[in-house]
Symmetry: C2
Subunit: 350 residues, 2 copies
């Protein structure tokens, strides 16, 4: 059997807690029988559910944690209350101590980001972590970062994001030299923030081995899949992500209304059902569930809080993937390689 | 007959020039017979097409302009070349001299913004103009600004945008006290840029008569139509707009592929065609074509460069609407009213 991949789960995180987490663990374990789980949470709540999944139970160690972080706690509150002892903290910490290869939590995003940063610290040469997620496109999937770990980014941070995103693309898409674009707006001369312009210049001139820089991309390129990795600062990245989600829901609602209007459209819907099932699959947020916090000394994956077992399993699969491919090590290596180039450009950054 | 509304058209602007502009003029004139057109462009190119639309010809004055701005010219180039004499400049200028009540151009966005700003200047009390457009939503339409006239915005500029957007909503949606939201991202405590947070505080405390401030909204709220007016700085606004366009195209493509796969799905498509026609209508970019440059001493509307006659007519209709409702005057009035409040808050702005 393959070497075990050890994954720590914050079992108390998410809107539906242990139910969803353990169902997800069950689904992912079937796909990857060499997973070993570390389950962090209130033992008395975990055990009755865990008993329903004997395979998961056999592959798991339960670590009783007295405290769990709620979905509405502020990051600062969560840190005060949960540092050192909450299920979220301890699941993260396991990737620091080396007990786990990756950590998954569906808990409170702000708290998770704060705790992960506080507990794991950034990798050498990286100033701020970024949240990287998958974007379904007409050509498959792209990686988009930052999805909201930071507000704003200096040019050298955008370059860190590019290098980290490319490392992730190499690990999960199995492409040797991923294409990378900087998200920008399409007005000549005023073209984008200074930091984006400078980052573009630097990426052009650096001519890195590990990625192919394709220049600026626009919001319309996200759905097209023009590049493997789209880099942007977290404010606009988060807005783009949520705008796309909202637009997809809006169109689904128009379709639903339109198709249920007459007996003819209803019949048409039944006959063409295959097309709608395919559409739903293509846009299924559960398939792309899981965003990685890149740039930390440990692999932490944020699952959507409201997902179900299938979605949670995707987040575990992602953790499994990046752990097996040793993504964090690759990032360290690539960043180090870039350091020299960075020093040469230091004078240009703002 | 109603008092004439005089609209200046940059006939040379857009990917398809005079053909589309004059067809649009024809369509809009049927809906608003009291329009009088000022047609700016190369007379010898305009006349043969104009003769095909005798009603438009009867309602028009043609002003021969030797120079037209191409779609790929940089704003600075365009200004040097076209200032004082290009069809774009002269169409804009007509709103300054009072010859026209509104100006429409489908030309080069950057050039149009630069020329409009240079020729018309901002209204008293307004620092920078904003590009405001319509967003189709599940509840109808919202106004979103800034869509890319500026990169970044200070808190007081966001408040100008809120006041200008609300004035536009009152004018075109006929609501007395439009609801306004500030676009932001959903992470507690790190919540958004400083400028957005401060603008939110100020709007809360100012408690303006002319709008109902609803707090922060997220990208998902755009498609829902949570508020009448969504305010954001131009970089993220432009990215949101293009991301939504891209997502809509992506879903349409998935549907097309899915529906053409088997004879069953094809038959289903034919039966349910009404639903798809409705969807297309709901999302038809031509219906919401036309973005207004708010905050200038003149009403300038940017039409999409690649639109057709139907789309161009929407932009003219919009110009007609805001001219009739004297939007620019209303904005002046509302901004002046807010000045006192602004002074009180001046210490807080960053």
């Amino acid at each position: 059997m393959a070497e075990p991949v050890r994954i720590s789960l914050d079992v108390m995180g998410g809107d539906n807690g242990a139910e969803v987490v353990l169902e997800g663990a069950h689904i992912s374990l079937k796909r990857h029988p060499n997973i070993e789980y570390l389950l962090y949470g209130i033992e008395s709540e975990i055990m009755p559910i865990l008993e329903r999944y004997p395979e998961v139970q056999a592959a798991s160690t339960v670590i009783d944690c007295e405290i769990s972080i709620t979905m509405d706690e502020k990051p600062s509150q969560a840190l005060r209350k949960g540092r050192g002892k909450s299920s979220m903290w301890k699941a993260i910490e396991a990737t620091k101590t080396g007990e786990a290869d990756a950590c998954i939590s569906a808990g409170n995003t702000g708290a998770l980001m704060a705790m992960a940063l506080f507990c794991l610290r950034t990798q050498p040469g990286i100033d701020r972590p970024a949240m990287a997620g998958f974007w379904p496109t007409l050509r498959g999937e792209s990686i988009v970062l930052d999805l909201g770990a930071n507000i704003g980014a200096e040019s050298y941070q955008l370059i860190d994001f590019a290098i980290m995103g490319a490392a992730m693309a190499r690990a999960v898409f199995n492409v040797e030299k991923p294409t990378v674009g900087l998200l920008n707006i399409g007005v000549e001369e005023v073209k984008g923030q200074e930091s984006v312009k400078i980052a573009g210049q630097m990426l052009n001139e650096a001519n890195l081995d590990q990625l192919e820089y394709k220049g600026f991309v626009e919001g319309t390129d996200l759905g097209k899949g023009t590049v493997d990795v789209v880099v942007t600062e977290g404010y606009s990245g988060n807005i783009a992500l949520k705008t796309a989600e909202g637009t997809a829901r809006q169109i689904a609602e128009y379709l639903r209304q339109g198709l249920s209007r007459t007996w003819l459209t209803k019949l048409g819907y039944i006959l063409a059902k295959g097309a709608f099932v395919r559409l739903r699959e293509k846009m299924d947020p559960r398939k792309v569930n899981g965003a990685v916090m890149l740039g930390l000394n440990g692999a932490v994956i944020k699952s959507h809080g409201g997902t179900d077992g299938i979605g949670y399993a995707s987040a575990i699969d992602l953790g499994y993937d990046i752990a097996k491919k040793e993504l964090m090590k690759k990032i360290s290596h690539d960043i180090e390689e870039f350091e020299q180039t960075r020093i040469a450009f230091e004078g240009d950054t703002n």
